[in-house]
C-alpha cells in the first residue's frame, strides 16, 4: 500500500539552512558570589569574555508549493536569518549588545530559544521546525516547539 504523502500530496518536507556568526560572551549570575560564579561557570565566567564561531541551522517544515516545488524560498530564509540573527549577533557581545538576551545567561540553550522567538513569527511559508545552534563542533542546543512532539 502506498503511504500517504509519498506521491507529492501532503508530503511534509524539512528544509534546513545554515549560517555562521561569531560573538563574544561570558557567564555571570549577579546573584551568585564571585566564588560561586567561578565554581558553577568555570572558565566561562572570565569577566573579560571569550568568543565562539556559532553555527546556526534553521529547519522549516512544510508541504512544497505545487507551483514552485518549494516549501519556502531559501533566499528569503537566508535574508530573514541574516536580518534577524546575523545583524543582531554577529561580531557582538551577547551579554551587552543583544536585547533579547538581557537578564539571561547567554548559554547555547538560551541563545537557541531567543533565536527561535525571533525567527518563528517571521517565517512566512512553512513552519519553524527546529533551531540548532552549535557553539563548537562538539556542543549544540536544539530548540523545538514543545507541542510538536518532535524530538529536540
Amino acid at each position: 500500500m502506498e503511504r500517504p504523502g509519498v506521491r507529492g500530496e501532503n508530503a511534509m518536507i524539512r528544509v534546513t539552512r545554515k549560517m555562521e556568526f561569531s560573538a563574544a560572551h561570558f557567564y555571570h549570575n549577579p546573584n551568585f558570589s564571585e566564588e560561586e560564579n567561578r565554581r558553577v561557570f568555570g572558565k566561562c565566567s572570565n569577566p573579560h569574555g571569550h568568543g565562539h564561531n556559532y553555527v546556526l541551522e534553521v529547519t522549516v517544515a512544510g508541504e512544497p508549493d505545487p507551483a514552485t516545488g518549494m516549501v519556502l524560498d531559501l533566499k528569503e530564509l537566508k535574508d530573514i536569518m541574516q536580518r534577524e540573527i546575523g545583524e543582531r549577533m554577529d561580531h557582538r557581545h551577547l551579554n551587552y549588545e543583544v536585547q533579547e538576551l538581557t537578564g539571561l545567561i547567554p548559554t547555547c540553550e538560551n541563545i537557541a530559544a531567543a533565536i527561535w522567538r525571533l525567527l518563528e513569527p517571521k517565517i512566512g511559508a512553512g513552519k519553524l521546525d527546529r533551531v540548532r545552534l552549535y557553539e563548537s563542533p562538539d556542543l549544540f542546543a536544539d530548540c523545538t516547539a514543545a507541542s510538536s512532539g518532535g524530538k529536540a
Binding site: Y27, N29, N31, F32, V40, F41, G42, L104, I105, P106, T107, C108, E109, N110, A112, A113, W116, R117, E120, P121, P137, D138, L139, F140, A141, D142, C143, T144, A145, A146, S147, S148, G150, K151, A152
Partner: protein, 148 residues
C-alpha cells in the same frame, strides 16, 4: 508569538576501541557469512564519535539544562574511561555475552548514561565511521511491531 519550547543539549565525545563481531553459537562459515571482515579473529578498531543529548527545563540561574561541569565527568567516567583504547569484547563485561555491534554499543551506552541525575537522557548517537551512525532514545518494541 511562541508557545512553549522544548530544549535539548548535545555534547560530543570520542573514544577509540577495538572489537570483533563473532557469535560463538554460529559456525565459522555462518560468522563469516554474517559478519564478513568484521569477524576477523584478531579484531579491528574504530574511532567512535558519541553524541549525548539531554533535555529538560533550563535552570534560570545558570541558563543551562545540564552543567557540562557535571555531564562531562559523568560521561568520561561511565563510558569514555571504560571504552577508550579497550578491546570491547574482553574488557567491557557486558560484551562478554553480547556481540559488540554498534547497535549494542549504542544501547549499552544509553543504559549507562540514563542514570545521569541532573537532566533527562534524550538520546545517544554514535558514529562508528563517518558513513555509519546509530541512535537509541530508549524506545522499545521495534522488533515486536514488525510484521512477522
Amino acid at each position: 508569538m511562541s508557545g512553549a519550547l522544548k530544549l535539548s543539549l548535545t555534547r560530543r565525545y570520542r573514544f577509540a576501541a577495538s572489537h570483533r563481531l563473532h557469535q560463538p553459537n554460529f559456525s565459522a562459515s555462518e560468522n563469516e557469512r554474517i559478519y564478513g571482515k568484521c569477524s576477523n579473529p584478531y579484531g579491528h578498531g574504530h574511532n567512535y564519535s558519541l553524541e549525548v543529548t539531554v533535555s529538560g527545563a533550563v535552570n534560570p540561574a545558570t541558563g543551562m539544562i545540564a552543567n557540562l561541569g557535571e555531564l562531562d565527568p559523568f560521561v568520561e567516567r561511565e563510558v569514555v574511561e571504560a571504552f577508550d583504547h579497550k578491546y570491547l569484547n574482553e574488557e567491557v563485561t557486558e560484551f562478554a555475552s553480547e556481540v559488540p555491534t554498534a547497535e549494542n554499543i549504542c544501547r549499552e551506552i544509553y543504559r549507562r548514561l540514563r542514570k545521569f541525575p541532573a537532566a533527562r537522557l534524550e538520546r545517544v548517537r554514535i558514529e562508528e565511521t563517518s558513513k555509519n551512525s546509530f541512535e537509541f532514545d530508549g524506545e522499545i518494541g521495534g522488533r515486536e511491531q514488525r510484521a512477522p
